[in-house]
């Protein structure tokens, strides 16, 4: 009886703690949902009237015509391919790489070294894409770039990197992983630390080596974390990191065949026009595809976990 009372009090305190987050989500994620209407309206505001009135009373419904600018581009298949290509790679590599690194790090005995490595891997996460873009420019500039200096030192010809799309799928994947791996690794590191040590001890007593321990103890214990992150990621399968694909290649025209993702296309198409209906249509498409995939993958993962 006493125990129950305490837990109720505890849960009330915990609920209170979550209040700021709840308010944040209400204000910035649930309240703006009405904005979906932008995607199906021809937005014609009248000055001096409220946004709600302008959107719901003054603007006529137009059905799906706001989506047509997306279909007008003959490049759409290529754009969708790019978006999916990079996202699938980041989805897989973004799980495999951090998990491997996290497992290695926990095996390190020296706390100092593992702490140092952890920090070094995490640091890039805090850099903004604009800064990363210019640092990369320092390496890849045709004239003053470090890499071309090195190439010329060895008697090779300088490369015009920003005009050579062939290299950029690799470069973008590398940079994307370099920036994000550390952050996801920390999540897995926490999950591994939470695993009961006695499991490892008994496994070692039974004669399990590093590989066996990883395979039979760590990975099965990580399964829930991995599937949660997988589900979260798949929800944004049509959304790409705008900074990575626009800022890092410095919006170079020649690189466009390999850097143009849906977000970049929408930005390029709309930056001169300020047509809110079109941008709402594009993001509505992204979110609804993401939402469907999220629900589907949630069902699939649940099924798999049951077996």
């Amino acid at each position: 009886m006493r125990k129950k009372k305490i837990s109720r009090k505890e849960s009330r305190e915990l609920t209170l703690l979550s209040l700021p987050a709840v308010i944040w989500f209400l204000l910035f994620s649930y309240l703006p949902i009405f904005g979906v209407a932008f995607a199906f309206k021809q937005f014609t505001p009248k000055p001096g009237e409220s946004l709600f009135r302008n959107l719901f009373v003054n603007s006529p419904w137009t059905g799906f015509s706001n989506f047509s600018f997306l279909l007008r581009s003959s490049e759409m298949p290529k754009i969708l391919f790019n978006t999916l290509f990079y996202n699938v790679i980041f989805l897989i590599a973004g799980i495999v790489l951090p998990v491997i690194l996290a497992i290695f790090l926990t095996e390190l005995h020296s706390k100092r070294i593992s702490g140092f490595v952890e920090m070094m891997l995490l640091l890039p996460y805090f850099l903004s894409w604009v800064i990363v873009g210019y640092c990369l420019y320092g390496f890849l500039a045709t004239d003053e770039g470090q890499i071309n200096h090195i190439l010329q030192f060895f008697g090779r010809n300088a490369v015009q990197w920003y005009q050579s799309p062939a290299y950029w799928r690799g470069i973008l994947i590398l940079i994307g992983l370099w920036k994000s791996t550390g952050y996801s690794m920390v999540i897995y590191l926490c999950a591994i630390t939470a695993i009961d040590r006695s499991l490892y001890e008994s496994a070692t007593l039974d004669g399990a080596g590093f590989l066996d321990r990883t395979r039979f103890v760590t990975l099965p214990q990580l399964k829930t974390t991995i599937s949660t992150i997988f589900i979260l990621q798949i929800g944004s399968i049509l959304t790409s990191d705008f900074g990575l694909f626009y800022q890092v290649p410095l919006d170079s025209n020649s690189l466009q065949p390999v850097t143009q993702t849906l977000d970049v296309y929408v930005y390029k198409a709309l930056m001169q026009q300020a047509n809110f209906s079109y941008s709402a249509a594009a993001s509505f498409l992204q979110s609804s595809v993401g939402c469907i995939l999220l629900i589907l993958s949630n069902i699939i993962v649940k099924r798999l976990n049951k077996e």
Binding site: L19, P47, D143, L250, N253, Q272
Partner: protein, 494 residues
């Protein structure tokens, strides 16, 4: 539970307090206006101080004060689209588009009020009211400034004239700059003589009237019987410029990464730059800024069209009541007729930000350069402001505007479309798709990085697939209708 509720109330109250509108109370007989203008990249540090000084004068003279805001392009777009209240706003052909906003009914029809309330303002604008008319009604006040685009090269005169003995003419053709570039490159094989960034040379496209910027154009020198709207890639003169630029790029006159560079201003030693200004403009010429004497040579213009005349305008909100509209007009009139008052908003405080020189021109002081360095067109009439000199030794002509406007009459190259404005709304999806395609290639095209003879066919193919011909047909139809109507109007007037 009561505590929790109280806490929630507190948070909500705090959140709501942040959102509630705050209106400053001003005394009864003075009308306070919200005047939103373009920030041209940054808000001047001393803006508050300068506005307070200007308000003192305007309150006394006409009983109007302003709350002047400097806002970036995105904020202006949002201001128009969100239905937020304002009194006056910066609008133009190139930023916060006037034709689109006025057609959508966002601006006040001032046709009758401007004549009745502010005849001096009405007279000062004269023929240029035409560019602010939609279906014969006036929806904005054009700011008198340089009304036609004059495109020029800015050259290092110390090097070319004194060192190399090459004469820099007042006018030259676009291609005439080549020997200058060549001479510099031969002396400095490691540097790139033509300043270039991803926006391209300033004004290189001004010799085309842009109906849908920048993809549908009408060349000013088109020799067809009636004006014909064409796709930019069908303009041979433009293609010639792209070919020249590509030639210069390959010759090493343009830096190899130009298409990805944001600004070429970091290296001040570059001897040749492009600019858009007017005859007698000294803003490019201060030797202290560059480390050498600069001489300008005009390669194009002046071109005058509806869009060039719409270079800067002031729109009054359609939701204003008549009293506020009258106040707006009085304020704009004061800016256009009272030079002393105009100089405050334009240059700042006399003695702190600027000082008058003996010939009546203005010199910006150090504080003015660093803390209130706005462009004149941001705040009102340019012609009515005092002319700015580059330095004490390098005086500007205080009467330059008279000459510039006479120049428009004698040398001006006028559009043949007679103020035609295309309403893009019905074809907006095509234009959006075309813009995206254009942006896929444009930076490398205008910097000379790519070869137009390989890139243009690709653009043409994609643009035609995205509906270029449909757009052109629609524009041509509306243009023809307009020309016919306009022609009739002229007949009636005679």
């Amino acid at each position: 539970m009561r505590k929790t509720g109280f806490l929630m109330l507190c948070i909500l109250a705090a959140l709501l307090a942040g959102c509630s509108p705050q209106k400053e109370k001003v005394s009864d007989d003075v009308i306070q206006l919200r005047f939103v203008t373009y920030d041209n990249g940054s808000v001047p540090l001393d803006a508050k101080e300068v506005i307070a000084a200007a308000n003192q004068v305007s309150a006394e003279k006409i009983g109007v004060t302003v709350e002047l805001e400097f806002q970036p392009k995105e904020k202006l777009n949002l201001l128009m689209a969100s239905g937020e209240y304002y009194d006056m706003v910066f609008t133009s052909s190139w930023l916060n588009p006037f034709d689109k906003n006025a057609t959508a009914g966002l601006f006040y029809d001032i046709t009758d009020l401007v004549k009745a309330e502010t005849p001096a303002l009405y007279d000062s604008v004269g023929d240029y009211w035409d560019c602010a008319k939609i279906n014969g009604r006036i929806y904005g006040v054009p700011i008198l400034k340089d009304m036609g685009a004059e495109d020029m090269f800015r050259l290092n005169a110390d090097y070319f004239e004194k060192e190399k003995g090459m004469a820099i003419p007042d006018h030259m053709a676009f291609s005439d700059i080549e020997p200058f570039l060549k001479a510099y490159k031969e002396d400095h094989p490691e540097s790139y003589p033509l300043a270039m960034d991803k926006a391209g040379l300033a004004g290189y496209m001004n010799f085309l009237e842009r109906i849908v910027d920048p993809i549908v154009v009408i060349p000013y020198d088109q020799d067809t019987e009636k004006p014909r709207a064409i796709a930019f890639y069908d303009c041979e003169a433009l293609m010639e410029r792209y070919r020249l630029l590509h030639k210069w790029y390959r010759a090493g006159y343009i830096q190899p990464d130009a298409a990805t560079v944001d600004s070429s201003m970091t290296d001040r030693s570059i001897p040749v730059r492009a600019g858009v200004a007017w005859k007698g403009y000294q803003g490019y010429s201060n030797p202290d800024d560059w480390g050498f004497q600069v001489k300008t040579s005009i390669y194009d213009g002046p071109f005058l069209s509806r869009s060039s005349e719409q270079g800067a305008m002031t729109g009054i909100c359609a939701a204003c009541d008549e009293e506020h509209v009258r106040a707006c007009l009085r304020y704009l009139e004061l800016l256009s007729t009272d030079r002393q008052f105009r100089d405050i908003l334009g240059y700042g405080l006399e003695g702190k930000h600027f000082t008058y020189l003996e010939n009546g021109t203005v010199l910006r002081l150090l504080d003015g350069q660093n803390r209130y360095n706005t462009r004149l067109y941001q705040t009102g009439s340019v012609v009515n402001a005092s002319v700015e000199s580059a330095s004490r030794d390098f005086l500007a002509d205080p009467d330059q505007w008279k000459k510039v406007y006479e120049g428009y009459k004698t040398d001006g190259i006028y559009s043949r479309t007679g103020g035609f404005a295309y309403d893009p709304t019905p074809k907006e999806d095509i234009i959006t798709a075309l813009t995206a395609i254009y942006n896929d290639y444009a930076a490398e095209l205008r910097t000379g990085t790519s070869d137009p003879d390989t890139v243009i066919p690709m653009m043409r193919k994609r643009m035609e697939a995205a509906g270029m011909n449909e757009l052109l047909a629609d524009i041509q139809k509306k243009l023809d209708d307009w020309m016919e109507m306009h022609h009739d109007e002229k007949k009636e007037n005679i």
